[in-house]
C-alpha cells in the first residue's frame, strides 16, 4: 500500500517530529479512550481491557505543537509512531510490537476442540 499524503505532508515516514495532528491521529488509530484533563486531553490506551499506557495531547490551538514525548509513553519508536500517524501501521501492528517487547501478556492459546481429551471414565 502506498502512503497517502495528508495534512502533515511533506513530513514523511522516517522523520521524527511528531506534532499535535500526529498525536490526534495516533490516538484515533490506536482506539484510545479520550479523557479531558487540566491542560491536556489524555489519550488512554487499553488492550484486552487492560490499561497499557496513556499520553497527553495539548489542548492549545497550535497544530504544529511538538508531541515528541509520545513514543516513550506508548512504547513505540518515534519512526513507527510517525508511520502510525501517516502511513500503513495500525493498532494490530502496535499490539504485536508490544507483545514482542513483553509490555502486554501474550494470550494463552485456547485448545482446539479436536485436541481436547475426553475425561477418563473410571469403572
Amino acid at each position: 500500500m502506498v502512503p497517502v499524503p495528508n495534512d502533515n505532508w511533506p513530513l514523511s515516514c522516517g522523520m521524527s517530529k511528531l506534532n499535535k495532528t500526529h498525536a490526534e491521529t495516533i490516538a484515533k488509530k490506536l482506539g484510545a479512550t479520550m479523557k479531558e484533563g487540566r491542560g491536556h486531553t489524555l489519550a488512554i490506551l487499553y488492550v484486552d481491557n487492560i490499561r497499557i499506557g496513556q499520553f497527553g495531547i495539548s489542548r492549545g490551538p497550535k497544530k504544529d505543537q511538538g508531541h515528541d514525548h509520545i513514543p516513550s509513553q506508548i512504547f513505540y519508536p518515534s519512526g513507527e509512531c510517525l508511520k502510525l500517524a501517516q502511513c500503513t501501521l495500525n493498532r494490530p501492528d502496535w499490539i504485536k510490537a508490544l507483545r514482542a517487547k513483553g509490555k502486554i501478556p501474550t494470550p494463552a492459546p485456547t485448545p482446539s476442540p479436536a485436541s481436547r481429551k475426553p475425561p477418563s471414565r473410571k469403572k
Binding site: 517530529k17 487540566r38 491536556h40 490499561r51 499506557g53 497527553g56 505543537q65 511538538g66 514525548h69 509490555k103
Partner: protein, 142 residues
C-alpha cells in the same frame, strides 16, 4: 521572586536548604561554580541550569488539593522549536513552547495521570502500575 544571585548553597546537604527555603536544588554532586543561573521566570518552577545539558529542574508545589511528598525531578530538553519536560521515573512527558511552559504542562499532566490511574487500579497493566507506584511516592491528594 527572591534574588538568588548571592545565594550560598549548601550542596553538601542540599535537602537542608530545600526545606528551609522555598527554593529548588538539584544535582547534589554539582557545585556552585557550575550553576550559571538559578530560578526561572515562574515562581512555581525553579531552575538550576548546569553547564551540562539537558537542564534539570525540581517541581516543588502542585495545585491546591495536592501535595508534593518530595521534589519531582524534571528533565528539560529542547527539540527544534519546542521543549519537552520529562518526569522520567514515572515515564510522563509533556511539551511546550518554552521550558517553563513544558514544565507547567508536565505538572498538570502528572496530576491528570495521577487522578486517572488512581481510579482504575483494577485494570492497570505493568507500565501504568509502575507509574502509579512512582506517583504515590511523589504525590498525595489532600
Amino acid at each position: 521572586m527572591p534574588d538568588m544571585s548571592s545565594t550560598q548553597t549548601d550542596f553538601v546537604r542540599p535537602e537542608s536548604f530545600f526545606y528551609s527555603h522555598s527554593a529548588t536544588f538539584v544535582e547534589p554532586s554539582g557545585s556552585q561554580s557550575y550553576a550559571r543561573s538559578v530560578l526561572g521566570s515562574r515562581s512555581d518552577v525553579a531552575l538550576i541550569q548546569l553547564s551540562s545539558s539537558p537542564e534539570k529542574i525540581l517541581v516543588l508545589d502542585l495545585e491546591k488539593g495536592y501535595k508534593a511528598l518530595r521534589p519531582i525531578p524534571v528533565k528539560i530538553q529542547k527539540a527544534d522549536d519546542s521543549y519537552t519536560a520529562s518526569f522520567e521515573e514515572a515515564n510522563i512527558h509533556a511539551s511546550g513552547d518554552s521550558w517553563s511552559d513544558a514544565a507547567r504542562n508536565l505538572k498538570s499532566l502528572i496530576l491528570d495521570i495521577y487522578d486517572s490511574l488512581i481510579t482504575e487500579t483494577a485494570v492497570l497493566g505493568p507500565g501504568p502500575k509502575r507509574q502509579l507506584a512512582t506517583l504515590l511516592r511523589y504525590v498525595k491528594a489532600e
